[in-house]
């Protein structure tokens, strides 16, 4: 069982709509409040060699990325830290605080616990005007499939490419880009933390569409074999870039550096270069 199957069972309890997007959505009347939470812990989420500062940065960044993916502006972040050693808290807090400040958010508090294994849960809120929110469910056939940055770098960094170590350990939440996509008319959006392939599956399910990707358009990591670069691009996890669908007439989107990698299709298949895209990427597994 992977966590996507578990999620299906949770939907039966708390509702379908509550679990579809990167954030929960609460209507404040004049705007939406969005909220997201992420649990990270040492053995599975923090590569060896990270400093405590970098760990704190990453823990904040993954959650702020969820806020960004709804085109919201992050406001406050709370961090619950289960510490194996108390002295780690200062570096972790400084890193999280710096990440929050880098996107105009505030580290507003949290909880301290002790734990056999360092465990951090960041929870953030953000705000977005009613007409500006972007969900996973708005993609329309004919829209362009766009992605920011150079996906695959985090996975390459994890596998030892020193050029991309920083992409792995101190990801940048794409807050500015998320808002630019919204201003520019994007129809659906999410971040690609589990890899582009899995993200497309989620986006396709939520929107009731499929995708046709053109590998010749993929922005690939330079100076490695092309087939390897393409695998990293499609299946690598740990990048916190944004995947968005944009109507043709809205492209290019002002203020965001993005690559078109394909189009949205009425047919629900996900095709890359004429062949079905394998369902691979980052997923927790229960054996």
């Amino acid at each position: 069982m992977d966590d996507r199957l578990l999620l299906d069972r949770i939907r039966g309890i708390i509702g379908e709509k509550e679990t579809e997007d990167d954030c929960s959505v609460f209507d404040l009347g004049n705007r939406f409040l969005v909220m997201s939470t992420d649990m990270l812990h040492e053995t599975t989420d923090f590569p060896e060699g990270m400093t405590d500062y970098e760990i704190g940065w990453m823990a904040a960044a993954v959650t702020l990325s969820d806020i960004a993916s709804m085109a919201a502006s992050p406001a406050d972040l709370l961090m619950a830290v289960g510490l194996d050693r108390p002295d780690r808290l200062i570096g972790i807090t400084e890193g999280a605080d710096a990440c929050c400040r880098s996107v105009g958010a505030r580290l507003a508090g949290g909880d301290i616990d002790r734990h056999a294994e360092l465990t951090i849960v960041s929870t953030a809120i953000g705000f977005v005007n009613h007409e500006k929110i972007i969900r996973r469910s708005g993609a329309k056939p004919g829209d362009l499939v766009c992605v920011t940055g150079l996906p695959g770098r985090a996975q390459a960094g994890l596998e030892g490419d020193p050029r991309f170590w920083n992409n792995l350990i101190t990801p940048i939440p794409r807050v500015r880009e998320g808002i630019a996509f919204s201003e520019g008319g994007a129809t659906a959006m999410m971040d690609i933390s589990d890899g582009i392939a899995l993200s497309l599956i989620d986006l396709g399910l939520a929107s009731g569409v499929g995708f046709s990707l053109d590998p010749s358009l993929f922005p690939l990591i330079p100076d490695i074999p092309a087939t390897r670069a393409e695998d990293l691009f499609l299946f690598g996890g740990g990048d916190f870039e944004l995947l968005a669908t944009v109507p043709v007439e809205c492209f290019p989107v002002a203020g965001v550096d993005t690559s078109v990698i394909g189009v949205v299709t009425q047919n629900r298949d996900i095709i890359s270069g004429g062949a079905p895209l394998p369902r691979c990427g980052y997923a927790h597994r229960w054996n």
Copy 2:
């Protein structure tokens, strides 16, 4: 080092005001949004014998209690769950969902992770009008010190008194009581999750006051020796009752069943029955 010392070091990074109350406070313009997060895990927080449903309930309740202690109405709760076994998620979710519904809140989503030790972080938001929020810092000399319920029951339950097992494992967030205290003019408030003695220390520091308690007024657990009952009352952890200070002219407070246990003093000492109150209660320790 205990977590109160660690907290002092965090204040240097994120600010004094951000860590003083049970919740962070964000000004929405027309009202305050309050937010709180709590990490619980199996070996230190969930007594043996609890069902997964009860674990989920407790994890939600401790966080909703923080919202209640600011006199806010809870809205959404997110739950990040690190599972040792995936099949536990259903019961945990059902328990958390039931606890949320019991106070008019919504379990709105979360995160699933795997973890060697079951770990749950609940984060909740709530709303309160500007003039209705109650912080730890408003207590005034002469105010009455009030507490809801019968504190000490959770600790008694933990120590084997079967009458109070349910008080320990399925605490009730005092949302209705928090709002009633606010409507009735309370000046400061917090929950007593770490015990009354430690809570009074925090309340006294935040308000710049002391307290004089009269043990003859304490509402004590019946049918156990009085000295033992008094210890449980003052130093037992795990009760999620509310401690509030109320001006004499506002007492009794409509809609809340509360006991007066002493008065707020200008002198910053904390005295019970004429003797200084020991600094004892629940605190994580780092050795």
